[in-house]
Protein backbone atom coordinates (compact mmCIF):
# COMPACT_ATOMS: atom_id res chain seq x y z
CA UNK A 1 0.00 0.00 0.00
CA UNK A 2 1.43 3.38 -0.93
CA UNK A 3 1.27 6.06 1.70
CA UNK A 4 1.07 9.82 1.34
CA UNK A 5 2.23 11.82 4.30
CA UNK A 6 -0.52 14.22 5.36
CA UNK A 7 0.81 15.22 8.74
CA UNK A 8 4.39 16.33 9.27
CA UNK A 9 6.15 15.61 12.53
CA UNK A 10 6.80 19.32 12.94
CA UNK A 11 6.21 22.55 11.02
CA UNK A 12 8.79 23.66 8.46
CA UNK A 13 9.58 26.70 10.63
CA UNK A 14 10.47 24.57 13.63
CA UNK A 15 14.01 23.46 14.43
CA UNK A 16 13.93 20.27 16.47
CA UNK A 17 11.23 18.66 18.55
CA UNK A 18 13.02 18.14 21.84
CA UNK A 19 11.74 20.26 24.70
CA UNK A 20 11.35 19.84 28.42
CA UNK A 21 7.86 21.26 28.91
CA UNK A 22 5.58 19.10 31.04
CA UNK A 23 3.67 16.11 29.72
CA UNK A 24 0.25 17.33 28.66
CA UNK A 25 1.28 20.98 28.24
CA UNK A 26 -0.84 22.83 25.70
CA UNK A 27 1.75 25.42 24.72
CA UNK A 28 3.56 23.31 22.10
CA UNK A 29 0.23 22.80 20.36
CA UNK A 30 -0.14 26.57 20.03
CA UNK A 31 3.45 26.81 18.83
CA UNK A 32 2.77 24.39 15.98
CA UNK A 33 -0.27 26.38 14.86
CA UNK A 34 1.65 29.66 15.12
CA UNK A 35 4.54 28.48 12.97
CA UNK A 36 2.19 26.93 10.39
CA UNK A 37 0.13 30.12 10.27
CA UNK A 38 3.23 32.24 9.60
CA UNK A 39 4.10 30.02 6.69
CA UNK A 40 0.54 29.82 5.40
CA UNK A 41 0.32 33.62 5.11
CA UNK A 42 3.60 33.65 3.19
CA UNK A 43 5.69 35.44 5.81
CA UNK A 44 8.37 32.89 6.67
CA UNK A 45 11.15 35.29 5.65
CA UNK A 46 9.58 38.42 7.02
CA UNK A 47 8.36 37.48 10.45
CA UNK A 48 9.80 38.80 13.71
CA UNK A 49 8.57 37.31 16.95
CA UNK A 50 8.92 38.92 20.36
CA UNK A 51 8.87 36.32 23.10
CA UNK A 52 7.91 37.00 26.72
CA UNK A 53 9.01 35.13 29.82
CA UNK A 54 7.28 31.96 30.88
CA UNK A 55 7.49 28.24 30.22
CA UNK A 56 7.09 28.97 26.50
CA UNK A 57 10.38 30.90 26.54
CA UNK A 58 12.06 27.51 26.36
CA UNK A 59 10.29 26.96 23.05
CA UNK A 60 11.90 30.07 21.53
CA UNK A 61 15.05 28.21 20.38
CA UNK A 62 12.77 25.81 18.46
CA UNK A 63 11.33 28.63 16.35
CA UNK A 64 13.16 29.13 13.07
CA UNK A 65 11.93 32.70 12.80
CA UNK A 66 13.86 35.88 13.67
CA UNK A 67 13.03 36.67 17.32
CA UNK A 68 13.69 39.14 20.07
CA UNK A 69 13.55 37.94 23.66
CA UNK A 70 11.81 40.51 25.86
CA UNK A 71 11.28 40.85 29.58
CA UNK A 72 8.24 39.64 31.48
CA UNK A 73 5.28 41.71 30.34
CA UNK A 74 7.29 43.89 28.01
CA UNK A 75 6.97 42.26 24.61
CA UNK A 76 4.38 44.70 23.21
CA UNK A 77 6.63 47.73 23.57
CA UNK A 78 9.57 45.84 22.04
CA UNK A 79 7.32 44.73 19.18
CA UNK A 80 6.22 48.34 18.71
CA UNK A 81 9.79 49.58 18.28
CA UNK A 82 10.63 46.74 15.92
CA UNK A 83 7.52 47.25 13.78
CA UNK A 84 8.09 51.01 13.53
CA UNK A 85 11.55 50.31 12.12
CA UNK A 86 10.43 47.33 9.98
CA UNK A 87 6.86 48.14 8.95
CA UNK A 88 6.82 45.39 6.31
CA UNK A 89 7.72 42.63 8.73
CA UNK A 90 5.05 40.41 10.29
CA UNK A 91 5.44 41.26 13.98
CA UNK A 92 3.96 39.07 16.67
CA UNK A 93 4.39 38.66 20.41
CA UNK A 94 4.15 35.36 22.26
CA UNK A 95 3.22 35.83 25.89
CA UNK A 96 1.64 33.93 28.77
CA UNK A 97 -1.22 35.22 30.90
CA UNK A 98 1.07 36.09 33.82
CA UNK A 99 3.30 37.95 31.41
CA UNK A 100 0.67 39.81 29.39
CA UNK A 101 -2.25 40.29 31.76
CA UNK A 102 -0.53 40.55 35.14
CA UNK A 103 2.85 42.18 34.65
CA UNK A 104 2.27 43.61 31.20
CA UNK A 105 -1.36 44.76 31.26
CA UNK A 106 -0.44 48.37 30.58
CA UNK A 107 1.82 47.49 27.67
CA UNK A 108 -0.70 45.47 25.68
CA UNK A 109 -3.51 47.96 26.25
CA UNK A 110 -1.45 50.95 25.14
CA UNK A 111 -0.13 49.04 22.15
CA UNK A 112 -3.67 48.14 21.08
CA UNK A 113 -4.92 51.68 21.68
CA UNK A 114 -2.17 53.01 19.46
CA UNK A 115 -3.35 50.59 16.81
CA UNK A 116 0.15 49.23 16.28
CA UNK A 117 0.00 46.81 13.37
CA UNK A 118 1.28 43.85 15.36
CA UNK A 119 -0.34 40.61 16.54
CA UNK A 120 -0.18 39.83 20.23
CA UNK A 121 -0.60 36.13 20.98
CA UNK A 122 -1.63 35.18 24.50
CA UNK A 123 -1.08 31.66 25.83
CA UNK A 124 -3.58 31.57 28.67
CA UNK A 125 -3.49 28.68 31.14
CA UNK A 126 -4.72 30.69 34.10
CA UNK A 127 -1.50 30.28 36.08
CA UNK A 128 2.13 31.32 36.28
CA UNK A 129 3.39 27.97 35.07
CA UNK A 130 7.09 28.57 35.22
CA UNK A 131 7.15 29.46 38.90
CA UNK A 132 5.09 26.38 39.71
CA UNK A 133 1.41 27.28 39.41
CA UNK A 134 0.46 30.63 40.91
CA UNK A 135 -2.51 32.93 40.45
CA UNK A 136 -2.51 35.42 37.61
CA UNK A 137 -4.93 38.10 36.49
CA UNK A 138 -6.78 35.49 34.41
CA UNK A 139 -7.14 32.79 37.05
CA UNK A 140 -10.87 32.05 37.37
CA UNK A 141 -12.92 32.20 40.57
CA UNK A 142 -12.66 28.99 42.48
CA UNK A 143 -9.48 27.91 40.69
CA UNK A 144 -6.93 26.44 43.07
CA UNK A 145 -3.34 27.65 42.71
CA UNK A 146 -0.35 27.64 45.04
CA UNK A 147 -1.20 31.11 46.31
CA UNK A 148 -4.95 30.63 46.28
CA UNK A 149 -5.11 27.18 47.82
CA UNK A 150 -8.78 27.42 48.73
CA UNK A 151 -9.64 28.63 45.26
CA UNK A 152 -9.67 32.18 43.93
CA UNK A 153 -12.04 34.17 46.12
CA UNK A 154 -13.59 37.34 44.69
CA UNK A 155 -13.61 39.12 48.03
CA UNK A 156 -9.94 38.48 48.75
CA UNK A 157 -8.34 38.05 45.35
CA UNK A 158 -10.67 39.97 43.09
CA UNK A 159 -11.97 38.92 39.70
CA UNK A 160 -10.19 37.68 36.60
CA UNK A 161 -9.56 40.09 33.74
CA UNK A 162 -10.86 39.13 30.32
CA UNK A 163 -8.15 40.92 28.41
CA UNK A 164 -9.66 40.13 25.03
CA UNK A 165 -12.75 42.14 25.90
CA UNK A 166 -10.69 45.11 27.08
CA UNK A 167 -8.63 45.11 23.91
CA UNK A 168 -11.56 44.51 21.57
CA UNK A 169 -13.25 47.69 22.74
CA UNK A 170 -10.33 49.88 21.73
CA UNK A 171 -10.62 51.54 18.34
CA UNK A 172 -7.04 50.59 17.56
CA UNK A 173 -7.91 46.88 17.71
CA UNK A 174 -8.95 45.45 14.36
CA UNK A 175 -9.22 41.76 15.28
CA UNK A 176 -9.49 39.88 18.56
CA UNK A 177 -10.30 36.24 19.12
CA UNK A 178 -10.01 33.41 21.61
CA UNK A 179 -9.24 29.76 20.89
CA UNK A 180 -8.66 26.70 23.06
CA UNK A 181 -6.43 23.70 22.41
CA UNK A 182 -8.36 21.22 24.55
CA UNK A 183 -9.22 19.14 21.49
CA UNK A 184 -8.14 18.74 17.88
CA UNK A 185 -10.94 20.96 16.58
CA UNK A 186 -9.87 23.67 18.98
CA UNK A 187 -6.25 23.38 17.90
CA UNK A 188 -7.28 23.75 14.27
CA UNK A 189 -9.49 26.70 15.21
CA UNK A 190 -6.52 28.42 16.81
CA UNK A 191 -4.68 28.35 13.50
CA UNK A 192 -7.65 29.86 11.66
CA UNK A 193 -7.72 32.72 14.14
CA UNK A 194 -3.98 33.26 13.94
CA UNK A 195 -4.17 33.46 10.16
CA UNK A 196 -7.01 35.98 10.32
CA UNK A 197 -5.01 38.04 12.78
CA UNK A 198 -1.92 37.98 10.56
CA UNK A 199 -3.98 38.93 7.54
CA UNK A 200 -5.40 41.86 9.50
CA UNK A 201 -1.84 42.98 10.20
CA UNK A 202 -0.74 42.54 6.59
CA UNK A 203 -3.68 44.68 5.45
CA UNK A 204 -2.45 47.30 7.95
CA UNK A 205 -5.83 47.51 9.61
CA UNK A 206 -4.45 47.86 13.11
CA UNK A 207 -3.76 45.79 16.19
CA UNK A 208 -4.72 42.11 16.32
CA UNK A 209 -4.97 39.76 19.28
CA UNK A 210 -5.36 35.99 19.56
CA UNK A 211 -5.76 34.32 22.93
CA UNK A 212 -5.13 30.58 23.04
CA UNK A 213 -6.22 28.70 26.14
CA UNK A 214 -3.73 25.94 26.93
CA UNK A 215 -3.50 23.07 29.39
CA UNK A 216 -1.21 23.23 32.41
CA UNK A 217 -1.92 20.05 34.35
CA UNK A 218 1.12 20.64 36.55
CA UNK A 219 -0.05 24.12 37.56
CA UNK A 220 -3.62 22.89 38.02
CA UNK A 221 -2.78 19.90 40.22
CA UNK A 222 -4.54 17.51 37.81
CA UNK A 223 -3.35 14.47 35.92
CA UNK A 224 -2.27 15.04 32.34
CA UNK A 225 -5.24 13.15 30.91
CA UNK A 226 -7.64 15.44 32.86
CA UNK A 227 -6.01 18.58 31.47
CA UNK A 228 -8.21 19.08 28.39
CA UNK A 229 -11.42 18.51 30.33
CA UNK A 230 -10.30 20.93 33.05
CA UNK A 231 -9.39 23.51 30.45
CA UNK A 232 -12.72 23.32 28.69
CA UNK A 233 -14.82 23.17 31.85
CA UNK A 234 -13.00 25.48 34.28
CA UNK A 235 -11.25 28.07 32.11
CA UNK A 236 -13.32 27.69 28.97
CA UNK A 237 -16.56 28.44 30.78
CA UNK A 238 -15.23 31.88 31.74
CA UNK A 239 -12.81 32.61 28.90
CA UNK A 240 -15.25 31.49 26.23
CA UNK A 241 -13.86 30.83 22.75
CA UNK A 242 -14.93 32.78 19.70
CA UNK A 243 -14.22 35.97 17.81
CA UNK A 244 -14.45 39.09 19.96
CA UNK A 245 -13.79 41.69 17.30
CA UNK A 246 -13.95 41.51 13.57
CA UNK A 247 -14.69 44.13 10.93
CA UNK A 248 -15.35 46.75 13.56
CA UNK A 249 -17.89 44.71 15.50
CA UNK A 250 -17.26 43.87 19.17
CA UNK A 251 -18.85 40.71 20.55
CA UNK A 252 -18.26 40.53 24.30
CA UNK A 253 -17.34 37.27 25.99
CA UNK A 254 -20.64 37.43 27.85
CA UNK A 255 -22.45 37.15 24.51
CA UNK A 256 -20.26 34.25 23.45
CA UNK A 257 -21.09 32.59 26.75
CA UNK A 258 -24.81 33.11 26.28
CA UNK A 259 -24.58 31.79 22.74
CA UNK A 260 -22.73 28.70 23.97
CA UNK A 261 -25.35 28.09 26.64
CA UNK A 262 -28.22 27.99 24.16
CA UNK A 263 -29.56 24.57 23.16
CA UNK A 264 -27.77 23.58 19.99
CA UNK A 265 -25.19 26.27 20.72
CA UNK A 266 -21.51 25.50 20.07
Amino acid sequence: MRERQTGLEKPALQVGVDHDLCPGCGEPLALRMLLEAIEDVGCAQRAIGVVGIGCYTALAPLMDVDRIQALHGRAPSVATGAKRMRPDALLFTLQGDGDMVSEGLQEVIHTAARGEAITCVLLNNGVFGETGGHMTATTVLGQRTKNSLDGRDAAYHGHPILIGDLLAQLDGTAYAARASVHDAAGVAGAKRMLKRAFETQLRREGFSFVEILTMCPTGWFVGTAEGPGYLDRVLGSVHVTGELKREGRFVPTASLRARAAQPGGD
Binding site: A44, A60, M85
Partner: protein, 357 residues
Protein backbone atom coordinates in the same frame (compact mmCIF):
# COMPACT_ATOMS: atom_id res chain seq x y z
CA UNK B 1 25.07 73.33 9.44
CA UNK B 2 25.93 76.89 10.38
CA UNK B 3 26.67 77.95 13.90
CA UNK B 4 23.64 79.09 15.79
CA UNK B 5 22.36 79.58 19.29
CA UNK B 6 20.72 76.42 20.56
CA UNK B 7 19.68 75.28 23.96
CA UNK B 8 21.29 72.05 25.07
CA UNK B 9 18.23 69.87 24.54
CA UNK B 10 17.92 70.94 20.93
CA UNK B 11 21.64 70.62 20.27
CA UNK B 12 21.76 67.13 21.74
CA UNK B 13 18.78 66.05 19.64
CA UNK B 14 20.39 67.48 16.50
CA UNK B 15 23.66 65.73 17.32
CA UNK B 16 21.78 62.45 17.67
CA UNK B 17 20.13 62.99 14.29
CA UNK B 18 23.51 63.81 12.76
CA UNK B 19 24.71 60.47 14.14
CA UNK B 20 21.88 58.71 12.33
CA UNK B 21 19.52 58.12 15.23
CA UNK B 22 16.26 56.88 13.68
CA UNK B 23 14.19 56.03 16.71
CA UNK B 24 13.42 57.68 19.99
CA UNK B 25 10.83 57.00 22.64
CA UNK B 26 10.35 58.85 25.88
CA UNK B 27 8.04 60.06 28.60
CA UNK B 28 7.93 63.71 29.64
CA UNK B 29 9.79 64.56 32.84
CA UNK B 30 11.77 67.61 33.84
CA UNK B 31 14.50 68.31 32.68
CA UNK B 32 14.35 65.65 29.96
CA UNK B 33 11.09 66.81 28.39
CA UNK B 34 12.50 69.24 25.84
CA UNK B 35 14.72 66.51 24.43
CA UNK B 36 11.57 64.47 23.76
CA UNK B 37 9.91 67.53 22.21
CA UNK B 38 12.80 68.03 19.82
CA UNK B 39 12.89 64.39 18.77
CA UNK B 40 9.11 64.37 18.32
CA UNK B 41 9.40 67.30 15.96
CA UNK B 42 12.57 66.41 14.09
CA UNK B 43 12.62 62.62 13.74
CA UNK B 44 9.65 62.42 11.38
CA UNK B 45 11.31 65.17 9.30
CA UNK B 46 14.39 62.98 8.88
CA UNK B 47 12.51 59.74 8.15
CA UNK B 48 12.73 58.40 11.68
CA UNK B 49 10.15 57.65 14.34
CA UNK B 50 9.52 59.17 17.77
CA UNK B 51 6.93 57.52 19.95
CA UNK B 52 5.43 59.24 22.98
CA UNK B 53 5.57 56.24 25.24
CA UNK B 54 2.94 55.82 27.92
CA UNK B 55 5.54 55.03 30.56
CA UNK B 56 9.32 55.01 30.91
CA UNK B 57 9.22 51.23 30.92
CA UNK B 58 7.52 51.23 27.55
CA UNK B 59 9.91 53.86 26.21
CA UNK B 60 12.97 51.73 26.80
CA UNK B 61 11.07 48.68 25.56
CA UNK B 62 10.35 50.40 22.27
CA UNK B 63 13.95 51.48 21.91
CA UNK B 64 14.92 47.84 22.60
CA UNK B 65 12.79 46.64 19.71
CA UNK B 66 14.10 49.31 17.35
CA UNK B 67 17.70 48.49 18.29
CA UNK B 68 17.12 44.80 17.72
CA UNK B 69 16.27 45.51 14.09
CA UNK B 70 19.63 47.26 13.65
CA UNK B 71 18.50 50.89 13.88
CA UNK B 72 20.31 53.50 15.94
CA UNK B 73 17.90 54.25 18.74
CA UNK B 74 17.81 56.12 22.02
CA UNK B 75 15.72 56.86 25.05
CA UNK B 76 16.22 58.90 28.18
CA UNK B 77 14.66 60.46 31.22
CA UNK B 78 15.70 62.00 34.48
CA UNK B 79 16.84 59.97 37.48
CA UNK B 80 13.36 59.03 38.66
CA UNK B 81 12.36 57.82 35.20
CA UNK B 82 15.61 55.93 34.78
CA UNK B 83 14.87 54.29 38.10
CA UNK B 84 11.85 52.71 36.42
CA UNK B 85 13.94 51.44 33.52
CA UNK B 86 16.58 49.58 35.52
CA UNK B 87 15.62 46.01 34.69
CA UNK B 88 15.63 46.82 31.00
CA UNK B 89 18.89 48.79 31.23
CA UNK B 90 20.51 45.75 32.76
CA UNK B 91 19.06 43.20 30.34
CA UNK B 92 19.67 45.31 27.23
CA UNK B 93 23.34 45.24 28.22
CA UNK B 94 23.25 41.46 28.26
CA UNK B 95 21.38 41.41 24.95
CA UNK B 96 24.36 43.47 23.69
CA UNK B 97 22.23 46.18 22.16
CA UNK B 98 23.71 49.62 21.36
CA UNK B 99 21.27 51.80 23.31
CA UNK B 100 22.08 55.46 23.87
CA UNK B 101 20.52 56.84 27.04
CA UNK B 102 20.10 60.56 27.67
CA UNK B 103 20.20 60.82 31.44
CA UNK B 104 19.11 64.41 32.03
CA UNK B 105 19.53 64.43 35.78
CA UNK B 106 18.21 66.82 38.38
CA UNK B 107 21.69 67.74 39.45
CA UNK B 108 24.59 65.50 40.34
CA UNK B 109 22.82 63.14 42.73
CA UNK B 110 22.40 60.41 40.08
CA UNK B 111 26.13 59.64 39.84
CA UNK B 112 25.72 56.30 41.65
CA UNK B 113 22.69 55.44 39.51
CA UNK B 114 24.55 56.23 36.31
CA UNK B 115 27.80 54.47 37.15
CA UNK B 116 26.80 51.59 39.43
CA UNK B 117 23.40 51.10 37.85
CA UNK B 118 20.31 50.19 39.79
CA UNK B 119 19.65 47.07 37.80
CA UNK B 120 20.41 43.50 38.72
CA UNK B 121 23.53 41.59 37.96
CA UNK B 122 26.92 42.52 36.57
CA UNK B 123 26.76 45.10 33.83
CA UNK B 124 28.44 48.33 32.84
CA UNK B 125 27.47 51.28 30.74
CA UNK B 126 29.83 53.80 29.22
CA UNK B 127 28.88 57.16 30.78
CA UNK B 128 29.87 60.55 29.35
CA UNK B 129 29.41 63.74 31.42
CA UNK B 130 29.67 66.79 29.17
CA UNK B 131 30.76 70.10 30.62
CA UNK B 132 28.85 72.26 28.16
CA UNK B 133 26.64 72.12 25.09
CA UNK B 134 29.50 71.96 22.60
CA UNK B 135 30.99 68.96 24.38
CA UNK B 136 27.56 67.38 24.64
CA UNK B 137 27.21 67.60 20.86
CA UNK B 138 30.53 65.82 20.34
CA UNK B 139 29.92 63.23 23.07
CA UNK B 140 26.44 62.43 21.77
CA UNK B 141 27.86 61.46 18.42
CA UNK B 142 30.68 59.55 20.11
CA UNK B 143 28.06 57.76 22.19
CA UNK B 144 26.30 56.36 19.13
CA UNK B 145 29.61 55.20 17.71
CA UNK B 146 30.83 53.56 20.90
CA UNK B 147 27.46 51.94 21.50
CA UNK B 148 27.70 50.26 18.09
CA UNK B 149 31.39 49.50 18.43
CA UNK B 150 31.02 47.72 21.75
CA UNK B 151 27.41 46.59 21.34
CA UNK B 152 26.74 48.11 24.73
CA UNK B 153 24.58 50.92 26.14
CA UNK B 154 26.16 54.34 26.47
CA UNK B 155 24.76 57.15 28.63
CA UNK B 156 25.07 60.88 28.39
CA UNK B 157 24.87 62.37 31.88
CA UNK B 158 23.33 65.79 31.47
CA UNK B 159 21.30 67.99 33.75
CA UNK B 160 18.88 70.90 33.90
CA UNK B 161 21.60 73.43 33.22
CA UNK B 162 22.88 71.58 30.18
CA UNK B 163 19.34 71.10 28.86
CA UNK B 164 18.39 74.74 29.14
CA UNK B 165 21.53 76.78 28.57
CA UNK B 166 21.74 78.12 25.05
CA UNK B 167 25.16 78.17 23.41
CA UNK B 168 26.42 78.90 19.97
CA UNK B 169 27.13 75.53 18.37
CA UNK B 170 27.50 73.99 14.96
CA UNK B 171 26.45 70.36 14.51
CA UNK B 172 29.01 68.76 12.21
CA UNK B 173 28.70 65.06 11.57
CA UNK B 174 31.71 63.29 13.07
CA UNK B 175 33.20 60.18 11.48
CA UNK B 176 34.77 57.66 13.85
CA UNK B 177 35.76 55.08 11.29
CA UNK B 178 34.17 51.90 9.97
CA UNK B 179 31.97 49.71 12.12
CA UNK B 180 31.20 45.99 11.71
CA UNK B 181 27.94 45.12 9.98
CA UNK B 182 24.99 44.40 12.23
CA UNK B 183 24.41 40.85 11.02
CA UNK B 184 22.97 39.98 14.42
CA UNK B 185 20.02 42.33 13.81
CA UNK B 186 16.61 40.81 13.08
CA UNK B 187 14.66 41.66 9.95
CA UNK B 188 12.84 38.38 9.41
CA UNK B 189 15.03 37.32 6.50
CA UNK B 190 16.62 34.28 8.13
CA UNK B 191 13.27 32.65 8.87
CA UNK B 192 13.29 29.02 7.72
CA UNK B 193 17.06 28.92 7.21
CA UNK B 194 17.73 26.90 10.33
CA UNK B 195 19.80 29.85 11.56
CA UNK B 196 17.14 32.41 12.42
CA UNK B 197 18.46 35.07 14.77
CA UNK B 198 17.39 35.55 18.36
CA UNK B 199 18.41 38.79 20.03
CA UNK B 200 18.35 37.85 23.68
CA UNK B 201 20.03 38.48 27.04
CA UNK B 202 20.41 34.82 27.93
CA UNK B 203 22.73 33.42 25.30
CA UNK B 204 19.92 31.37 23.68
CA UNK B 205 20.60 30.06 20.20
CA UNK B 206 18.30 28.62 17.54
CA UNK B 207 18.16 24.85 17.74
CA UNK B 208 20.10 24.68 21.00
CA UNK B 209 18.40 23.51 24.18
CA UNK B 210 19.48 25.27 27.33
CA UNK B 211 21.78 28.19 28.08
CA UNK B 212 25.15 28.65 29.76
CA UNK B 213 24.95 31.78 31.93
CA UNK B 214 28.39 31.15 33.39
CA UNK B 215 30.15 31.37 30.05
CA UNK B 216 27.87 34.11 28.80
CA UNK B 217 28.33 36.40 31.78
CA UNK B 218 32.08 35.83 31.85
CA UNK B 219 32.32 36.87 28.22
CA UNK B 220 30.40 40.05 29.00
CA UNK B 221 32.67 40.74 31.93
CA UNK B 222 35.69 40.39 29.68
CA UNK B 223 34.12 42.86 27.25
CA UNK B 224 33.47 45.36 30.03
CA UNK B 225 37.02 44.97 31.32
CA UNK B 226 38.27 45.76 27.81
CA UNK B 227 36.00 48.81 27.63
CA UNK B 228 37.38 49.95 30.98
CA UNK B 229 40.93 49.70 29.68
CA UNK B 230 40.26 51.60 26.47
CA UNK B 231 37.47 54.13 26.91
CA UNK B 232 38.40 56.35 29.87
CA UNK B 233 38.42 60.07 29.03
CA UNK B 234 39.30 63.03 31.15
CA UNK B 235 40.46 66.62 31.06
CA UNK B 236 43.14 67.94 33.38
CA UNK B 237 44.70 71.32 33.71
CA UNK B 238 47.52 72.67 35.82
CA UNK B 239 47.90 69.42 37.70
CA UNK B 240 51.71 69.37 37.53
CA UNK B 241 52.99 70.85 40.74
CA UNK B 242 49.50 71.53 42.06
CA UNK B 243 49.23 71.43 45.81
CA UNK B 244 45.48 71.24 45.73
CA UNK B 245 43.74 69.15 43.08
CA UNK B 246 40.06 69.89 42.54
CA UNK B 247 38.00 67.10 41.02
CA UNK B 248 34.62 67.92 39.45
CA UNK B 249 32.38 66.61 36.64
CA UNK B 250 29.66 67.86 34.33
CA UNK B 251 28.29 71.39 34.31
CA UNK B 252 29.57 72.12 37.83
CA UNK B 253 33.09 71.57 36.50
CA UNK B 254 32.65 74.62 34.31
CA UNK B 255 32.34 76.77 37.43
CA UNK B 256 35.26 74.92 39.01
CA UNK B 257 37.41 75.56 35.93
CA UNK B 258 36.60 79.25 36.03
CA UNK B 259 37.43 79.50 39.74
CA UNK B 260 40.62 77.45 39.42
CA UNK B 261 41.89 79.65 36.57
CA UNK B 262 41.09 82.79 38.52
CA UNK B 263 42.89 81.46 41.61
CA UNK B 264 45.89 80.41 39.54
CA UNK B 265 46.17 83.90 38.10
CA UNK B 266 46.38 85.06 41.70
CA UNK B 267 49.22 82.63 42.37
CA UNK B 268 47.45 79.65 43.95
CA UNK B 269 48.90 76.24 43.07
CA UNK B 270 45.63 74.59 42.31
CA UNK B 271 44.77 72.25 39.46
CA UNK B 272 41.59 70.72 38.10
CA UNK B 273 40.85 67.14 37.12
CA UNK B 274 37.62 66.48 35.26
CA UNK B 275 36.49 62.96 34.47
CA UNK B 276 34.67 62.99 31.13
CA UNK B 277 33.79 59.32 31.41
CA UNK B 278 32.13 58.66 34.76
CA UNK B 279 32.46 55.02 33.78
CA UNK B 280 35.12 53.93 33.18
CA UNK B 281 36.37 56.36 35.76
CA UNK B 282 39.83 57.56 34.66
CA UNK B 283 41.61 55.96 37.61
CA UNK B 284 45.17 55.93 36.27
CA UNK B 285 44.98 59.48 34.98
CA UNK B 286 43.67 60.76 38.30
CA UNK B 287 46.36 58.91 40.21
CA UNK B 288 49.01 60.57 38.04
CA UNK B 289 47.35 63.98 38.36
CA UNK B 290 47.15 63.66 42.14
CA UNK B 291 50.75 62.55 42.53
CA UNK B 292 52.46 65.26 44.50
CA UNK B 293 49.27 67.02 45.54
CA UNK B 294 48.91 67.69 49.23
CA UNK B 295 45.15 67.46 49.11
CA UNK B 296 42.40 66.38 46.71
CA UNK B 297 39.14 68.30 46.97
CA UNK B 298 36.03 66.74 45.43
CA UNK B 299 33.42 69.24 44.28
CA UNK B 300 30.07 67.57 43.53
CA UNK B 301 26.49 68.58 44.22
CA UNK B 302 25.30 65.58 46.19
CA UNK B 303 25.90 63.85 49.50
CA UNK B 304 29.14 62.34 48.25
CA UNK B 305 29.13 59.87 45.34
CA UNK B 306 31.99 60.49 42.94
CA UNK B 307 34.23 60.87 45.98
CA UNK B 308 34.21 57.06 46.33
CA UNK B 309 35.83 56.72 42.91
CA UNK B 310 38.29 59.51 43.69
CA UNK B 311 39.34 57.80 46.93
CA UNK B 312 39.80 54.49 45.08
CA UNK B 313 42.01 56.21 42.52
CA UNK B 314 44.10 58.23 44.98
CA UNK B 315 44.36 55.26 47.35
CA UNK B 316 45.65 57.17 50.31
CA UNK B 317 48.39 59.08 48.45
CA UNK B 318 46.75 62.30 49.66
CA UNK B 319 43.76 63.18 51.81
CA UNK B 320 40.53 63.36 49.81
CA UNK B 321 37.96 65.82 51.11
CA UNK B 322 34.47 66.79 49.94
CA UNK B 323 33.97 70.49 49.26
CA UNK B 324 30.59 70.26 47.50
CA UNK B 325 27.42 68.91 49.04
CA UNK B 326 23.70 68.94 48.47
CA UNK B 327 22.57 72.17 46.86
CA UNK B 328 19.13 72.45 45.40
CA UNK B 329 16.52 74.90 44.23
CA UNK B 330 12.98 74.88 45.67
CA UNK B 331 11.71 72.66 42.83
CA UNK B 332 14.43 70.08 43.35
CA UNK B 333 15.63 70.31 39.76
CA UNK B 334 19.29 70.72 40.66
CA UNK B 335 19.83 74.42 40.06
CA UNK B 336 21.26 74.92 43.48
CA UNK B 337 23.03 77.93 44.95
CA UNK B 338 26.38 76.19 44.53
CA UNK B 339 26.13 76.55 40.74
CA UNK B 340 27.79 79.91 41.10
CA UNK B 341 31.39 80.93 40.40
CA UNK B 342 31.75 82.95 43.60
CA UNK B 343 30.48 80.19 45.84
CA UNK B 344 32.61 77.55 44.09
CA UNK B 345 35.64 79.77 44.49
CA UNK B 346 34.91 80.09 48.20
CA UNK B 347 34.80 76.30 48.59
CA UNK B 348 38.12 75.90 46.78
CA UNK B 349 39.65 78.71 48.79
CA UNK B 350 38.49 76.94 51.91
CA UNK B 351 40.41 73.84 50.87
CA UNK B 352 43.47 75.95 50.02
CA UNK B 353 43.34 77.64 53.42
CA UNK B 354 43.49 74.30 55.18
CA UNK B 355 46.46 73.55 52.97
CA UNK B 356 48.29 76.69 54.02
CA UNK B 357 47.60 76.21 57.72
Amino acid sequence: MTRRLMEGSEAIAEAALAAGCRFFAGYPMTPFTELLEHFAKRLPETGGVCVNAESELEAIGMAWGALATGARAATGSTGQGLALMQESLSEITRAELPLVVFHMARGQGDYYQATRGGGHGDYRHLVYAPIDVAEAVALTQLAFDRADRWRNPVSIYGDYLLAHVAESVSIERLDFGPLPAKDWAVDGSLGGSGRARIVNPLGMETGVKGIDPDAFWKRLQAKHDEMARREARFDAEATDGAELLVVAFGTLARFARYAVRELRREGARVGLFRPITLWPFPVEALRRAAAGARRVAVLEMNAGQMIDDVRLAVLGDAPVVPIGGISSDPAGFGIGPLLDAERVRERIEGALAVEAA
